[in-house]
């Protein structure tokens, strides 16, 4: 199978593109995708969300599911990387005090495997091989914290919504992962992990909270919002759609990001 991948993003209205604090990462070859929503209340959140997504697509935490300690060990060097990215001695007093509180972000990472692909890490590979014997066909696995969400569409129906399944579940206080170790004491058991299968024709949509909530709200009204997103072909289309939804109060004014992954038959397999 071959993935057709599209990414669209737009900053919240009133902000410039360099103030966009979501981030995304894609490695189509390895079948890894990640999306992160940097908390706008924190400073340097865009650096943190970028580090989290880039690390996930290059070296995700191993294990099905990864153990709490594994995730914590995975995050520790990323916190140091965030810290090293800030010019501390240039910051005025208020900016330093704010930055010392740390940046906060969500993370949703997905990996896709089919029979041909290699997995990551020896232990992981063994686990995967074990699983593969039991489950035929291509599989996905996802790890998340916070309220970034994904949807799996098959035959014009939504067959998976994860981790949130209802629009009302989007709150203003999701659990976030921080660049400051002191703020992460209680989060490690709040990472969630899920696996599933996919097949040709399936589409996956990874989304940060504003558009993810709109999506579920529409599904709850009996609509098929993936058809709307299917019409989006260019950045301009996306910006127009988001502007209209914000103006109609159907979507909150926030940084907005989607990754759309559509699985098709690989032409080389024909």
């Amino acid at each position: 199978m071959e993935a057709t991948v599209q990414v669209f993003w737009t900053p919240k209205k009133g902000n410039t593109p360099d103030e966009y604090e979501d981030a995304y990462g894609c490695d189509v070859e390895e079948g890894r995708y990640a999306i992160s929503d940097g908390a706008t209340e924190s400073s340097f959140a865009e650096i943190w969300s970028t580090i989290l997504t880039q690390k996930f697509v290059t070296t995700p935490p191993v294990g099905e599911p990864p153990e709490e300690k594994t995730i914590e060990d995975w995050v520790t060097p990323l916190q140091r990387e965030w810290h090293a990215n800030i010019m501390w001695d240039r910051l005025p007093w208020f900016a330093e005090e704010k930055a010392r509180k740390g940046a906060f972000a969500t993370l949703l990472g997905m990996e896709f495997f089919d029979d041909e692909s290699d997995d990551d890490g020896v232990m992981d590979k063994l686990l995967f091989m074990f699983k593969k014997q039991k489950t035929a066909g291509p599989r996905w696995r996802a790890l998340t914290i916070g309220d970034s969400n994904f949807y799996q569409i098959r035959d014009d129906e939504m067959i998976t919504a994860w981790p949130l399944t209802k629009g009302i579940q989007f709150t203003h206080r999701p659990t976030l992962i921080s660049s400051n170790p002191k703020s992460n004491d209680t989060i490690w058991n709040q990472f969630r992990f899920q696996t599933g299968e996919y097949e040709e024709g399936d589409t996956f949509i990874l989304a940060t909270d504003a558009i993810a909530k709109w999506f579920l709200d529409r599904v709850e009204l009996g609509e098929k919002p993936w058809r709307v997103l299917d019409q989006v072909k260019t950045e301009h289309d996306f910006e127009t759609l988001v502007s209209e939804l914000r103006a109609g109060l159907k979507m909150q004014n926030d940084d907005t990001t989607i990754i759309s992954i559509h699985w098709e038959e690989d032409p080389e397999d024909e």
Binding site: T40, S43, P92, W93, F94, H172, N253
Partner: protein, 278 residues
């Protein structure tokens, strides 16, 4: 729905703090371990400005979600900033952040997690100094706030309405405060009327009355007058108060009577925290 406008750099909101600087402010505040009212109020305002600045700090700068003024009233009614901002009235938050009068180093006591206390040095920027001299020209202070905000509301018609917080320990000695307060709270943006919150602080050890929805328990005419001129809290602020375990009814007003030090700080926190900042 009123009081729902998004607070942004394009449409910032505004705080005006009216601070009683009359001679009686040298007396100790209830619950303050002998601290003078003027010192506790100055510390509370400086800490509030500090917290607001940290809240609006992003990256290397400040996002100007707010503009603010501090007006003192006692021997005179005048802008209350010290240092580089002396004499200025409404100032964008970034200018406030970059221009404290001085930065003190204070010792903060923290729980060491093992039953003890550790001391940590913290920076304490000061913009507003304690003053206690003269009478209580509250009417004049409300007049000045009205003057400043009538222009502001015209310019910022799409903004979340300004919030005026008046902190005093006694009755107005000039010609106020009802007509001035009524004029002030009749100003509005498209999102609602100017909100006037009044905090009466006390030196006596009496039970504070906070966010009342009627004047039945208020002891005298002065307290009832302040209640009458205080705005009904918008739903968002009532929710914030509920999160602080305060059970408020729908008509609850932005008013505290006989507030001690703790109630003063809590009142200021609820009155200046916003859930609509973007």
């Amino acid at each position: 729905m009123p009081y729902s406008a998004e607070i942004s750099r394009t449409n910032p909101s505004c705080f005006i703090f009216l601070i009683d600087q009359s001679g009686s402010m040298v007396e100790p505040i209830s619950g303050g371990d002998g601290k003078r009212k003027c010192d506790v109020v100055a510390d509370s305002i400086n800490r509030l400005l500090h917290n607001l600045i940290i809240k609006c700090a992003r990256g290397e700068g400040i996002r100007d979600f707010y503009e603010l003024a501090v007006i003192g009233y006692g021997a005179q009614v005048a802008p209350g900033f010290s240092g580089p901002l002396a004499g200025r009235d409404i100032v964008p938050l970034s200018e406030v952040a970059n221009n404290p009068a001085r930065v003190e180093e204070r010792i903060k006591e923290l729980d060491d997690g093992a039953g003890g206390v550790i001391q940590q040095k913290t920076k304490f920027p000061v913009w507003f100094e304690p003053v206690a001299k003269g009478t209580t020209p509250m009417g004049g202070a409300l007049d000045l706030a009205h003057h400043l905000l009538s222009g502001w509301c015209q310019q910022r018609n799409y903004s979340y309405p300004p919030i005026v917080i008046n902190i005093s320990d006694g009755e107005a000695t000039d010609f106020g405060p009802e007509p001035q307060a009524e004029a002030l709270t009749s100003l509005h943006t498209s999102d609602g009327n100017v909100l006037l919150l009044n905090i009466h602080i006390s030196g006596e050890n009496m039970t504070p009355i906070v966010f009342p929805d009627n004047d039945e328990d208020l002891p005298d005419e002065f307290a009832r007058t302040l209640f009458q001129v205080s705005s009904v809290l918008p739903p968002g602020m009532r929710e914030l108060a509920k999160n602080e375990s305060l059970d408020l009814n729908e008509g609850a007003r932005g008013f505290a009577f006989n507030a001690d030090m703790i109630e003063l700080i809590r009142f200021l926190d609820i009155g200046t925290r916003s859930s609509t900042m973007r």
